[in-house]
């Protein structure tokens, strides 16, 4: 095997997976708080446009990411208002958010079609990036790849080690009890939705800033839905979201390389694989309902304060 090619393949896998890591973590933090947000796709494309527009205007990468997260958070706040304050059906609201985000980005982004953003420079990690094969594959990426893994660490630490994380999980597992204990269910969920929106926005901006890198309407092409499936596949654990995203990225990149190398496996089978695995995971989770593998108890349920 050609090692140069191998390291290029691994490099591409990490790039292709990173939008899914961000968006998946964004969905995860909301679902652990009991919020089912089907608007991830809409949040992603709005972030994709905001990040791209900022980069085209000449701002550095950090500002572009901030604007992408801000755009995602702002759109998510509409969702929060509808679901938490007006008790709208979260499934319908999430779908509407996706449709709205796609349309909004198409409308606002038409002037950015055909524009070019500056290329994002890689952060070559000292010493590590000099290692043959592994160096290029793992340690000479753009900053966002490292940030996505760091974010998973932070979320893992937050959910399992911090008191606030425990409250968030309590709200997600049983919002009535959490409320009775004096926690602000709506406040916690609002913050979770804002954070989730920001992360989805960053995930979208990765597409326009690094992976593609251009903006055209509808370019998220279903990645928001894959991210939602990933969270289920990961049984609501941050590191499993990363694992799931990388598995998904591996399958899609390896099948492209396989075709170019002349390996004759029907590409349709490989395209199906991630979804088949997700369905398998769903079956396992359903059969273990009530154990730690199951979904947060209050996921997707509407919370009304009883007086």
């Amino acid at each position: 095997m050609d090692y140069g090619l191998l390291s290029s393949i691994i490099h591409s896998i990490l790039v292709a997976s990173t939008p899914l890591v961000f968006a998946g973590l964004g969905a995860l933090i909301q679902e652990r708080a009991g919020v089912l947000n089907l608007g991830i796709e809409g949040l992603m494309i709005v972030g994709a446009l905001a990040g791209f527009a900022t980069a085209v205007a000449g701002f550095p990468l950090l500002v572009s990411i901030l604007m992408a997260s801000l755009a995602g958070a702002m759109l998510a706040s509409i969702f929060a208002l509808l679901v938490l304050r007006l008790y709208a059906n979260p499934v319908a609201t999430g779908l509407a958010l996706t449709l709205f985000g796609l349309g909004l980005a198409a409308l606002a982004g038409s002037q950015y079609v055909g524009q070019a953003a500056p290329q994002v420079a890689a952060w070559e990690i000292p010493f590590l990036s000099q290692i043959p094969v592994v160096g290029r594959a793992l340690f000479s990426h753009d900053p966002l790849v490292y940030l996505s893994i760091f974010t998973a660490f932070v979320i893992w630490w937050f959910l399992t080690k911090s008191r606030t994380g425990l409250i968030l999980r309590a709200v997600g597992e049983n919002h009535t009890s959490a409320h009775a204990l004096g926690f602000s269910v709506r406040g916690v969920r609002f913050l979770a939705i804002i954070c989730g929106g920001a992360l989805a926005g960053i995930g979208g901006s990765y597409l326009t800033l690094v992976q593609t890198p251009l903006f055209v309407e509808g370019m998220t092409a279903g990645r928001g839905w894959i991210a939602l499936a990933l969270v289920v596949f990961a049984s609501w654990r941050p590191f499993r979201v990363i694992a799931g995203a990388y598995l998904f990225g591996s399958v899609s990149i390896i099948q492209l390389h396989g075709q170019a190398l002349g390996v004759s496996v029907a590409s349709q089978w490989l395209s199906m694989l991630p979804y088949v695995v997700t369905i398998g995971a769903l079956v396992v989770i359903a059969s273990r309902a009530g154990t730690s593998q199951a979904a947060p108890g209050s996921l997707g349920k509407i919370f009304k304060e009883s007086r």
């Binding site: 090619l5 290029s8 393949i9 591409s12 790039v15 292709a16 939008p19 809409g42 996706t98 449709l99 985000g101 796609l102 349309g103 198409a106 409308l107 982004g109 038409s110 079609v113 055909g114 524009q115 070019a116 290329q119 597409l207 992976q211 593609t212 890198p213 251009l214 055209v216 309407e217 509808g218 370019m219 998220t220 092409a221 279903g222 990645r223 899609s252 990149i253 492209l256 390389h257 075709q259 170019a260 190398l261 002349g262 004759s264 029907a266 590409s267 349709q268 395209s271």
Partner: protein, 358 residues
């Protein structure tokens, strides 16, 4: 995707408002367009919409055009087309191969509405078909690619294994091979017309495997953008994509639907429309090439221009024997040219291309 319909609805609403203000317009001919991607795709759908705008410009108040974009191929298409017919469209252009069966089905229900289906082969009394001989353009691209590749590896990003796409690969390969016997094609099927992320990933995979020139038969400009970033060359698809690859673009096949759309709408208005099968190439202006990039040397330009001229004048056919099929069985004898029937149904690679059709 399904996110754009409300925008279209909004567009129709605004259009109806503007129409309502022009009271004098005496019952304009209503022309509908069904698009597979977003108008802003900078490729296939964008060019169809330019054709639609040309119709509006040419016929002014006498026509009213409507369009629905990002209509997925399948049951959804049938619903959109029949709704368009029910809302009083006189002539409907369905602009993707996958709309073939839905178009035929809806046409049966609306015998008084005229339909035009792009790139298909099924016709009826009120269904015409039209397409462009893009393979003529692919021939010229293949010549340029064969001459300019250093690694002798051309990367090809393909969508679905329909005759249209297979024909393009074969035409480009034969042309490249004719000027560079060592040339090799690597083909990746991405199973989508429009997914910039996936197209970009495929472009990277091809470049990583040694391709130094990219061709594509998908609708976004992502591969061109990747070629520009990696410092290699690429050909634009359906539309001039030099904005995405000022250094990378060698040329682009441009689909110019405007002359055809204007003529057919004209015929529909004066009553001379009939169900026809149009397959135009360089000679009709339906296939054009973007200006050659600055990387193309003068001798290659001259060769490409000569080929284009010869095809336009009918002196050269992109599929001229001897050509064998991939399995080695003979297809065309020396000097024999392919008939349109075989080309329209092409479901095989020619000899020399590696891999198999999905």
């Amino acid at each position: 995707m399904f996110g754009f319909r409300y925008l279209t609805a909004l567009g129709c609403f605004v259009a109806s408002l503007t129409l309502a203000t022009s009271v004098n317009a005496a019952d304009p001919t209503k022309v509908g367009f069904v698009y597979v991607g977003p108008v802003a795709d900078a490729g296939w759908t964008y060019e169809h919409d330019r054709g639609r705008l040309a119709v509006e410009k040419e016929h002014g108040d006498k026509v009213e055009t409507v369009f629905v974009e990002s209509v997925s191929e399948g049951p959804d298409a049938e619903r959109v087309i029949s709704q368009m017919a029910a809302e009083g469209a006189d002539l409907i252009f369905t602009t993707s191969f996958g709309y073939m069966n839905p178009t035929i089905k809806v046409a049966k229900q609306f015998p008084n509405v005229k339909f035009e289906h792009a790139t298909g082969y099924k016709r009826a009394d009120n269904v015409a078909t039209y397409s462009s001989r893009f393979y003529e353009g692919r021939h010229v691209l293949g010549l340029i690619a064969g001459k300019m590749t250093k690694s002798n590896t051309i990367g090809y990003i393909a969508s679905f294994p329909i005759p249209e796409v297979v024909r393009g690969i074969n035409a480009a390969y034969l042309a490249a091979k004719s000027v560079n016997p060592a040339v090799q094609f690597k083909v990746i099927w991405v199973s989508t017309w429009f997914d910039p992320g996936k197209e970009a990933d495929a472009a990277k995979a091809l470049i990583d495997q040694g391709a130094d020139i990219l061709m594509q038969h998908t609708d976004s400009a992502a591969p061109m953008k990747i070629a520009e970033e990696r410092g290699i060359y690429a050909f634009g698809q359906a539309s001039d994509q030099a904005a995405y690859g000022p250094n990378a673009q060698l040329t682009a096949i441009i689909d110019d639907w405007a002359p055809y759309y204007v003529r057919r709408v004209d015929e529909a208005m004066n009553g001379s429309w009939s169900s026809t099968d149009t397959w135009g190439g360089f000679d009709t202006g339906m296939v054009a090439l973007a200006p050659y990039g600055k990387a193309v040397p003068d001798d290659v330009k001259a060769m490409a221009e000569e080929a284009r001229k010869a095809i336009t004048e009918g002196r050269l056919h992109a599929f001229t024997g001897p050509i064998n099929k991939q399995d080695g069985s003979p297809w065309l004898k020396a000097g024999e040219t392919a008939d349109d029937g075989t080309l329209l149904g092409m479901d095989f690679y020619v000899e020399g291309i590696e891999g198999s059709l999905p």
